[in-house]
């Protein structure tokens, strides 16, 4: 049976704890709390209540019949994380980590964000629990996701634009780490994906596997069997691992993780470390990364801010190496086709991140027969991307 990571947070050679010394006591404290509360019935009951009444779980598994017919292959089922409170899967994790922060007596929450979905989901739970909240966001992302910046501010968070480096998600993470080192005593760092030092990759995964556990049961109820394939987009990899993890031991289920190919892998302007990177160490863990021959991190590119990250969660690196998950990639233009297809045929506007998964389904479904099923993670809704889309299509709103 698949059982990762080991007690030091290793997924084979990946993962681990690679941080400056000042962070070590905080990480140890977090790990102790995480190990304790993930087994604590009272904590788990409170988490369940919040997921049900605040987030709105379980999220539906929706049979996209019209789209399936149009593609002429497998039956496509959408796992509707877009219907969660705040509009993406990110909130599953922030609700969990915020409860943990409260149990640990922390009064200040910090987070990094790319698309702003994780920032919004963090500001939301911080507002609800009355915790101070600071969100770091690359200056480039502040611009392209201005709607989410406004939402965070309304929710009472302080949004700090990060001007260093490439001014995107990785730099926001650097800045959040710097804040954490400085304010270690009262601050809880809510990382938004399955990256960072142990226990984050395991902990965020554990909060996100609700997606896959529900999907498995819903699929059994709706089709009487397991799905034949799973598809999810991979930025840091939290929505993907959330869907995939409960199916890892089900060897009949094919699993596809979709990275952002940006302008195309061959152009070098992409965000696909698993498809085109190499192992290295960044942000507290060993994993596939986009770095040059000197070990400097390369700037990434994707139309979707949430996939614009040079690393990936260490568990995905392991799942790639053992061949359990196929990592594929989708360009900006292909993602836009996925975006429009779902919008026009099903009346559902997906986030640009999720649109990468949709675009891969458009390639995969026609190669399968109509008695087979695909579950694709609709990780978020597209409201936040209206500006990007309009600009891309030359429309002023």
């Amino acid at each position: 049976m698949y059982n990762m990571p080991d007690e030091k947070g290793h997924f084979g050679p990946y993962g681990g704890i690679f941080v400056a010394e000042t962070l070590m006591p905080a990480i140890t404290e977090l790990n102790v709390a995480y190990q304790r509360y993930m087994k604590d019935p009272e904590f788990l009951a409170e988490l369940d209540e919040d997921l049900k009444h605040y987030v709105g779980r379980p999220s539906p598994l929706y049979h996209a019949e019209r789209w399936s017919k149009e593609l002429g292959g497998a039956q496509i089922y959408l796992k509707r994380e877009d219907l969660n409170h705040t509009g993406a899967h990110k909130v599953n994790n922030t609700v969990g980590q915020a409860l943990l922060a409260k149990r640990m007596g922390k009064t200040r929450i910090i987070a990094e964000t790319g698309a702003g979905q994780h920032g919004v989901a963090t500001a939301t739970v911080a507002a609800r629990l009355g915790l101070e909240c600071v969100v770091y966001m690359g200056a480039v992302d502040v611009e392209r996701q201005s709607l989410n910046v406004y939402r965070m501010k309304l929710l009472g968070a302080t949004v700090i634009p990060v001007e260093s480096g490439s001014r995107t998600l990785k730099d926001a993470l650097n800045e959040a780490m710097r804040d954490w080192v400085t304010n270690i005593d009262d601050t809880f760092y809510i990382i938004g994906t399955v990256a960072g030092p142990h226990p984050y990759p395991a902990m965020v995964r554990d909060f996100q596997t609700i997606i896959g556990r529900e999907a498995k049961q819903q699929c059994q109820e709706m089709t009487g069997r397991l799905p034949d394939a799973l598809v999810a987009c991979v930025g840091g990899g939290s929505n993907a691992i959330g869907l995939f993890h409960p199916f890892i031991d089900d060897s009949s289920v094919k699993i596809f993780g979709v990275e952002a190919a940006g302008d195309g892998i061959e152009t070098g302007r992409h965000s696909a470390p698993l498809c085109a990177g190499r192992p290295g160490v960044l942000h507290g863990n060993r994993t596939y990364l986009m770095s040059d021959d000197d070990g400097e991190i390369i700037e990434t590119h994707s139309i979707s801010a949430g996939l614009d990250y040079p690393g990936v969660g260490p568990e995905h690196s392991w799942l790639k190496d053992i061949g359990r998950v196929d990592y594929v990639n989708i360009t900006d233009n292909e993602a836009l086709e996925g975006f429009h297809a779902l919008t026009k045929l099903e009346g559902i506007i997906p986030a640009l991140e999720s649109s990468h998964a949709m675009a891969y389904v458009m390639k995969l479904a026609p190669t399968m027969n109509s008695s087979e099923t695909i579950i694709v993670n609709l990780s978020g809704r597209g409201d936040k991307d209206m500006h990007t889309m309009a600009e891309r299509e030359g429309i002023k709103i």
């Binding site: 681990g16 010394e21 000042t22 006591p25 005593d185 160490v281 960044l282 070990g295």
Partner: protein
């Protein structure tokens, strides 16, 4: 015997403390670095910490971040930094040089290739900010086999068992980070530092360098009364930043600051 060990023993004998400047290799340009290192030694530096630029310096404040960015504009990666050390060694066989940086450049070069290259360049110590001892076994063994000291950080919140661990895996000296925060931040509290150094000394016999937040000669003097070495980084790099149109000015100001610190520490 290693240069680091030698240097700290000599200093102890003469009752002096080590002045350890940090500059980022290649900042503001690659030609600046080696002459600057020689000038630092002439002005009273005992050990050199040479920063290896990294694209994502998570433990550094804005001053050293910008130094890294300037150096990377000249593509000053790890292999070029090693070339600078080799060049420095041509005319200075005595001053220990410690590389300070992040793990990814070493990972990408490969641990063994790096250890060999560092040995050829006559590097004396390697301080990798994001490589705690738990993950360092392989790298430490390769370095120690080549008589290169792996140097580890200790923080204000490091408990005694952690100090003993660093003592066991580290060599050369221990680097005590005097405040919770990034490089160049805030003010350090010398009373707090004093208390922590006592605790460290109870658990280790390695020399202790103190850094993060040493801005002037006065702080250097206060710290040299309690530590074995004083590390100064951002204060020097600020001089470079203030004189980007005239690096020779920066050099003159760094020399003056080094001399004033040396004088204060020895008085």
């Amino acid at each position: 015997m290693s240069r680091l060990k030698n240097r700290f023993e000599e200093l102890a004998k003469s009752g002096r403390k080590a002045l350890i400047p940090f500059i980022t290799a290649g900042d503001p340009n690659p030609d600046f670095t080696v002459p600057m290192l020689h000038a630092l030694v002439e002005s009273g530096a005992d050990v050199i910490e040479l920063g290896v630029p990294f694209s994502d310096p998570m433990a550094d404040g804005p001053v050293i971040q910008r130094a890294s960015e300037r150096a990377l504009e000249h593509h000053m990666g790890l292999s070029k930094v090693l070339k600078l050390v080799a060049e420095f060694r041509k005319t200075d066989q005595l001053t220990p040089v410690v590389l300070m940086g992040y793990l990814n450049p070493i990972e990408i070069m490969g641990y063994e290739a790096f250890a060999n290259a560092a040995q050829r360049a006559e590097v004396d110590g390697v301080l990798t900010v994001d490589l705690p001892p738990e993950e360092a076994e392989e790298c430490v063994a390769l370095l120690k086999a080549r008589d290169i000291s792996p140097i580890f950080l200790l923080a204000p919140n490091s408990p005694p068992e952690r100090i003993r661990k660093m003592d066991a895996v580290g060599s050369g000296y221990l680097y005590y980070v005097s405040l919770k925060g990034v490089t160049g931040a805030g003010h350090l509290d010398t009373e707090d530092v004093k208390r922590k150094l006592l605790e460290i000394r109870e658990n280790s016999n390695l020399p202790i360098g103190v850094g993060f937040g040493v801005k002037d000669a006065e702080t250097a003097k206060t710290l040299s009364a309690i530590a074995d070495g004083v590390v100064v980084g951002s204060a020097f790099i600020r001089k470079i930043e203030e004189n980007l149109d005239n690096p020779e000015n920066a050099k003159a100001e760094i020399i003056a600051l080094t001399k004033s610190m040396r004088q204060a520490m020895d008085s």
